[in-house]
Point group: C2
Chain length 404, copies 2
Amino acid sequence: MSHYPNFQFEIHKTSKNSKARLGRLVTPRGIVETPAFIFCATKAAIKGATPQQIDEANTQIILSNTYHLMLQPGGEIIERQGGLHRFMGWNKPMLTDSGGFQIFSLGHGSVASEIKGKRLTKRPKTLLKITEEGAQFKSYIDGRMHLLTPERSIQVQRQLGADLIVVLDECTPFHVDKIYTQRSMQLSHRWALRSLAEFQRTDNQRQALYGIIQGGVYDDLRKESSQFVNDHSFFGHAVGGSLGASKDQMHDIVALTMSLLNPERPVHLLGIGGVSDIFNGVRQGIDTFDCVHPTRLARHGGALVQPSFWHKNDGKGGEHINLRNAHFREDSKPIDETCPCATCKTFSRSYLHHLLKAQEILALQAITIHNIAFMNRLLRAIREAISLDQLDEEEKNWVFKEST
Amino acid sequence: MSHYPNFQFEIHKTSKNSKARLGRLVTPRGIVETPAFIFCATKAAIKGATPQQIDEANTQIILSNTYHLMLQPGGEIIERQGGLHRFMGWNKPMLTDSGGFQIFSLGHGSVASEIKGKRLTKRPKTLLKITEEGAQFKSYIDGRMHLLTPERSIQVQRQLGADLIVVLDECTPFHVDKIYTQRSMQLSHRWALRSLAEFQRTDNQRQALYGIIQGGVYDDLRKESSQFVNDHSFFGHAVGGSLGASKDQMHDIVALTMSLLNPERPVHLLGIGGVSDIFNGVRQGIDTFDCVHPTRLARHGGALVQPSFWHKNDGKGGEHINLRNAHFREDSKPIDETCPCATCKTFSRSYLHHLLKAQEILALQAITIHNIAFMNRLLRAIREAISLDQLDEEEKNWVFKEST
């Protein structure tokens, strides 16, 4: 019998030329067609977009950060307000992370917390101690001490009530050696078992638990960690830890990991959101992605576009246009004439350029909505391409290749 | 024959107990039911709200500031982009001011520019010289010199293309004597004639011109200025200049002025937006109001509510609740259960309090939408009350009176 009777992951098709697959993540709050992108509503809000606008941009699923919400307003308050869905007015599927990533890598609530700290070598000052029990840290808001244990992470995620939740892991720093990586992975495995036990103790069949694969850049450790998650009753798997120093290394690590994971469970790739990275991940069988990139880029004036919409002065190889650039001052076209989003239906590049120059917050709201709609269109195009076995052809519409 | 064949101001009813009147301002871009509130889209955007959201909150008319737009992006660019309506995606009636107020009173683009400088005694540093020809000032953006003449103000307002436009006047400082006020008024009258001549020279029958009544706190000057605007072919009148040091004095000045103005023309009261001030203005026959207050208040966490929705800890006599206050932390009610706006339908006070604490811009977007909807509901209630001769009774629903 399934440990997750109200959840299902159905695979409807696997690509002929790659491990890309078309699936459906069925949750009590609705279905996520995969591959899918998960947008970051870090502190229970996507910066600059209402739930209605997010929904109108065809969003299937969002995530919030346990770390931020346990500090402000606190899991208890959200629970008493009826849970995160009701609190923020989002009735579709949602994921929360364990809180670990911010504690181990960033430890504060500033803009820097939005960057996946793959190259981070130092621990944050707010992290006081890592022990077998958990991680002790200081709140960046009021300096108070907190201890995040695997059990506590599950308890807070229960209070939040997201549909998909994640075990606490130690987010291993980048420049550590194999010994450290191995010990860290083993600690994460012990924490994962405690997370799972706490999950089962408090199971209400309204949430499904993801295990995390660690092991850094080391093949044997990745194998061990993949075997570990396969052996335990997680609903899905998330690929975590250091993915290496280059895109090629990331590609190899993800490929190895995906070859080892139970193919019946959904796999999430943590913190990856570039267009070409998504194509690569999809080819290796990744089902869901999350990243602050699309919404964060929007707040800096960057609008995601297909290569055919790049401005000649924006250079090749990027995946967006920078609407702050003076060459958009009198450009009366929308960001993308073929985009059906509210921003492209209403505003010109010229107007958005003006809003950025005038420091009007409507600029970032409008570009955020476009970037969300863009990512949802991208993932829809990817799903259609998988169903037609045309992923390589489709990629040409979205990723610029020097050789083509 | 009318000088404004495509514009009309119809008065459908005048109150039995006051000069309050129910009217319709007919413009080529639609009808404004009066009394009405005009929302400030200072730099061609209402801060934090899309045109769609403004429309859904039942907004009839907005205004933009010529001063800000002539500096960024410039009138020429907006004209080449098809005019302000198309540029910002707002297809309903719009007003622009002359640009004078910012030059004479504020001279820069910061938050302070949002405050009506009634008590301002000094000229801004960016104002270099006032001559018969016009006002010379320095751009706060790039330091470049500009000369705003009555003709130039009309020309820029032609480029912007708002439906209702306004003559350039000298915005008289507050603490000047009668001699200065008289000379300033006379200068404003000469500028008004030049504005009117330029308007007529360039008339395209798509815009209607408002004259401004000056005269400060002096009855004889107010009379002279009212006579002046009556005698010239303005479509409407705006009550400008210093309205005194107290609400009582403002009340008296507005009452006197209104008794003198041609009753067939619409009258706008510049920069007034408090709820009780609006009731007072309406009773004296004011047809339209504008003020940054509702949208500015929202950005500081203040939500406009009727007295029955005040929180006991917010004190009496205010017209809003401050959602930053800790007593809203677990308040699961919307701002106002009876309000049909998107914010009240979706978000609790507890969530909005969290967003303010977490410095999420969604907070100010959401409260802005509520405050716009509130003002539109208020003005609709006022119009219904006028039609039923129940303005005094209706006021009790919106304004707290110690004696009731």
